[in-house]
Amino acid sequence: MSHSYRQFFQRTLSLLIPILSMVALLSAFQEKTVDPKPKGEDSKTKIEDAKKASIGGVVVDAVTGKPVKDTSLLVLSPSAGGIGGSVKSDEEGKFLFKNLDPGTFVLMADHPRYARQTYGSRNGMLGGTMITLTIGQALTSLTFKLQPNAIASGRVLDDDGDPINGAMVAALKPMYVRGKRQFLPVATGASNDLGEFRIANLAAGRYMLVALVMNPATAVVKTAEGTENVYIPTYYPNMTDTIGAGHVEVGAGRDVGGLDIRMAKNKSVHIKGRVAGLGENQKASVQLVPKGVGLLAMLTSRSASVKMPDGTFEITGASAGSYMLRAIDPSGMMKSLGASVPVEVGERAIDGVTVEVSPSIEVSGVMSMKGDSKDAVKGARVVLEAIEGLVIQPPMTSAAEDGAFTIKGVVPDKYYVRVLGGPASSYVDTVTLEGQPIPDDGLPLTAAIAGKLEIKLNPAGASVDGVVHGADDNPMAGVTVALIPASRKYLLYQTTFTDQSGAFQFKGVTPGDYKVISWEDVEPNAFQDPEFLKPFESKGESASLKESGHQSVSLKAIPRDAQ
């Protein structure tokens, strides 16, 4: 009986995870473009109903133009703290979100027969038009054109050509994290007893496919000789690495079938050990994270639960390679409980690995405005962004009225200190720890840290705005605009998407020299990679910004085929 509950639970969860990661992704880059609440008003005070804005329109099939009923629409609004609401389109395909606080919004649609997509996006889920609404504005004539599902289907087979039941197949899209190209799972399907899988809800485009078996009971195969083999992540058609893996091109409304993936198997061993330092009744799991796979670690890690009260664990299905082993909180979005331990897996079983759980650090500090600015820092969030590794929910907190903040449960690591949602025109002037500026390449936090973090915001941020035009000189909505610092300092990069009239705006920019470049469609954050950027540097506009400086630029979007 509990078995059926588990299935139910895991199925709802498998859907939730991509949505949550999308929400996290979107909120990260939208923050700065949002107008602040009117000054002097408590953020909890509701704007009068008459001043509320609304978004509405009609959902239609992009091919036939016919209205689509029963589409779930979700409005994301970072200014209101994430998800603004959800409605369904009616019999005539109409939808309406009322009572929105003015700000910037992203609209998403979900219908079983159409690609899951963001309004105005060039490639489905990623990016899209930033819909800006002013006080009292009713933007109720949007036409949301839904692209019919593109479908990738095929079979997952073992090395005898027999079907593998219960494998997961994920469609991957490239994106860049801190200048490194990685792959993000955007949609998944599961193989049935015939090995058949179908990944629907895809937007037309190019994908890589990876098949993996997450359940250790299915992934590990015993041999008659008494050894164990494990199915390892296999990229379509039969590669064990992203390099050289094939791409699959799917068109809207088309089912690309026959994508058979023959899964590779490697000899595998068990890793036994102990997690030291857990509290009584503290729940923990251990996770063996392959090195160098980036975001895919979400799917390709092997984990095991930690047995209490002695803290022992046994991971099965570890194949040769380099890994980091860490203890995580199983209920906390894979949050680390301590430092990771490097593990080299070879031919032999490993015993006696100790993973230390570190008492989590409390990082406290104070945020203030430089000079005599009256702008309130209340509600601005301090985020500790780990320099390496996979974190779904980074440690963060909001500053109180007096600017004080405390981030609890921080694991020793090296972090960037990022401020989100501060007064719109402000930038981070200095971040110091006990009077010492923190290094550009991150703040190493250890249990020994005693001092207070001091964040000074400068109200005299610069701004850049403009309009992006296409080759036909018409304004382009929903295209990427990047603000690239000449210093190449990671925290100074900003990115946004143009709104319904092709306009964009960067506020609270740290004074300095920048390039502003627009792409019609680009792999997210690709411009953080100097190699990628090189051929495009001449295509943008330069901005040399002083304190409180402002510059308007007119951009031509770099067309898709120029990349």
Binding site: T12, I164, A224
Partner: protein, 546 residues
């Protein structure tokens, strides 16, 4: 807890020493694994061998070669049970009539290898089909479940055994089924991005039309459900369901005291019913900002609304509340996530100590709802244990890991004796839960004989308490020479039966058992009784014919 751990280590060392002193001569078990339908060798399977009477629960594992042949080498002499499973085959308990019954004991002696075992694995049966709406359009992302007619807690009911999601064409395949009679039902959990949205605006005034739980046979009414009978290894295609539209309701509420760093889901579980077991009926995400949630698409009935971390299957951090939905949407359901109540307990072994037992564990199983796991407590050396509980409700106390000579004498909650098979646990109950175990259990051994009075292997032996609790019943499978053993028996009146075949759980159904009562051997067992009894098998079980 720490003490308990030390104890386990101590015992492990102790048993290790014992084995070191045992005769060095080892033995082996050999056999073949075949497809029960075609007789072909099965290559992709795992064989799990469990040693009887030891503290470890981990099996010894072997795999067949290309001819389906397997061998367990270097075994210590002793008693073992053998089980097999494969990706395309049902689990097999070697020597038992079905996996409802224990595998037969294999007694392996030093220098006398056991050879020639043949394990016939039943290939999975499959039910497949399509789910559509009124227009015949496919409905993707619906949950389709198979319910098998089976005995549950002494009653014949429909129990969920498999569940899958429809694909973009509305197609589903329910696999890993055994031959038998099923009902199939589809439900719309509204799995989509709307799941993540906060409740906005006022609740609608009236119920709203929606897709409701629909059985194969296109009816929401279980009495109009069509049964599906499938044979071994059969793939029954075309089991199509047209979903029924009916008024649906919402539940809205708020979670208080939620941990900040967790993403929580609210799940509505339907109460256990004869028709469909206990199933998930709806989900909603809890808003991190203010703790509000909304679950849509429900029909009237009793629900357990459970709040839990979205990334964790275990119920450890859950909180829940039972609500009744009548004909209106429900608002303001408040669910408090507390750090969790703690039920203290005490485990006493009369005439012995905790370390005399194998690996004692007390589990509290909620009887009205199928939760993913049951909170449990392991007694320390002095017998003390604690069980983390958060949910008030009706429970059954399952005590396992006793030794062959031990039985549960009584269970008391806060000083009052309770029925271990069903008692109410109130919100914040602190206990103590006192479990008294005696090491004066009765044991029965003997031989099962057939109609011709010859010893009969593979028979099912059931010992049923007269007017007593289900948890006192004992079952065994007779060995090849007809020998059987029942142990850990509480003193009292019993009836002893042997069957050539019997559907799993049927022996606990008083209705089913009534006609057979007169044919049983009646026993009145005292503590430490050790009767040797010959049992005649009953005529074939007729229960499978309905």
């Amino acid at each position: 807890m720490k003490v308990g751990h030390g104890l386990a280590l101590f015992c492990a060392c102790f048993s290790l020493q014992l084995s070191a002193q045992a005769p060095a001569q080892t033995t082996s078990i050999e056999g073949r694994v075949l497809n029960a339908v075609t007789g072909d060798p099965v290559r992709k399977a795992a064989l799990n061998l469990y040693r009887n009477g030891t503290k470890t629960t981990e099996p010894i594992i072997a795999a067949p070669d290309a001819n389906g042949s397997f061998v367990f080498r270097d075994l210590e002499p002793g008693d073992y049970r053998l089980e097999a499973e494969g990706p395309n085959y049902l689990r097999l308990h070697y020597g038992a009539k079905s996996d409802d019954w224990p595998a037969v004991l294999l007694r392996v002696k030093a220098g006398q290898p056991l050879t020639g075992l043949v394990l016939k694995l039943a290939p999975n049966s499959v039910i497949s089909g399509r789910v559509t709406d009124d227009n015949g359009d496919p409905l993707p992302n619906l949950l389709v479940a198979a319910y098998r007619s089976a005995f549950r807690d002494g009653k014949r009911s429909w129990t969920q055994v498999s569940g899958v999601q429809t694909n973009d064409r509305g197609e589903y395949r329910l696999t890993r089924l055994r031959a038998g009679r099923y009902r199939v039902a589809a439900s719309d959990l509204q799995i989509g991005i709307g799941l993540a949205a906060p409740p906005t605006g006022p609740l609608p005034e009236k119920p709203e039309p929606g897709n409701v739980f629909t059985f194969f046979g296109n009816s929401a009414d279980p009495t109009h459900a069509s049964a599906v009978d499938i044979g071994m290894g059969e793939d029954r295609r075309g089991t199509d369901i047209r979903i029924v539209r009916a008024p649906t309701l919402r539940i809205r509420g708020k979670v208080t005291g939620a941990p900040e760093d967790k993403i929580l889901m609210a799940i509505a579980m339907r109460k256990n019913s004869i028709e469909a077991g206990s199933t998930g009926a709806g989900v909603g995400l809890v808003q991190q900002k203010d703790g509000r949630f909304e679950i849509r698409g429900l029909t009237p009935g009793s629900y357990l609304v459970m709040v839990r971390a979205a990334t964790e299957v275990s119920a450890a951090s859950a909180a829940a509340k039972v609500v009744e939905l009548t004909d209106q949407h429900l608002d303001n359901v408040e669910i408090a996530m507390s750090p969790g109540g703690e039920l203290r307990g005490n485990f006493q072994v009369s005439g012995g100590k905790i370390s005399d037992l194998r690996n004692p564990v007390v589990r509290l199983v909620m009887t009205d709802y199928a939760l993913p796991d049951a909170p449990e407590g392991k007694p320390a050396e002095n017998g003390a244990f604690t069980i983390k509980t958060t949910l008030a409700g009706r429970y059954r106390a399952a005590v396992s890991g006793l030794s062959e000579d031990a039985y549960v004498k009584s269970i008391k909650l806060a000083g009052r004796e309770v029925d271990p098979d069903g008692f109410e646990l109130e919100d914040g109950a602190a206990g103590p839960l006192e479990i008294a175990v005696s090491r004066a259990a009765a044991r029965i051994s003997g031989t099962v004989v057939g109609d011709d009075d010859a010893p009969l292997g593979g028979a099912i032996v059931t010992l049923i308490p007269v007017g007593g609790r289900n948890s006192l019943a004992r079952v065994a499978t007779s060995e090849s020479d007809g020998a059987y053993h029942l142990d850990g028996i509480a003193p009292g009146k019993y009836r002893l039966f042997a069957w050539t075949d019997l559907e799993g759980g049927a022996h606990l159904d008083p209705e089913f058992m009534k006609p057979f009562e007169s044919k049983a051997q009646s026993l009145n067992l005292e503590e430490n009784a050790r009767p040797k009894l010959t049992v005649h098998v009953l005529p074939r079980d007729k229960s499978r014919d309905n």
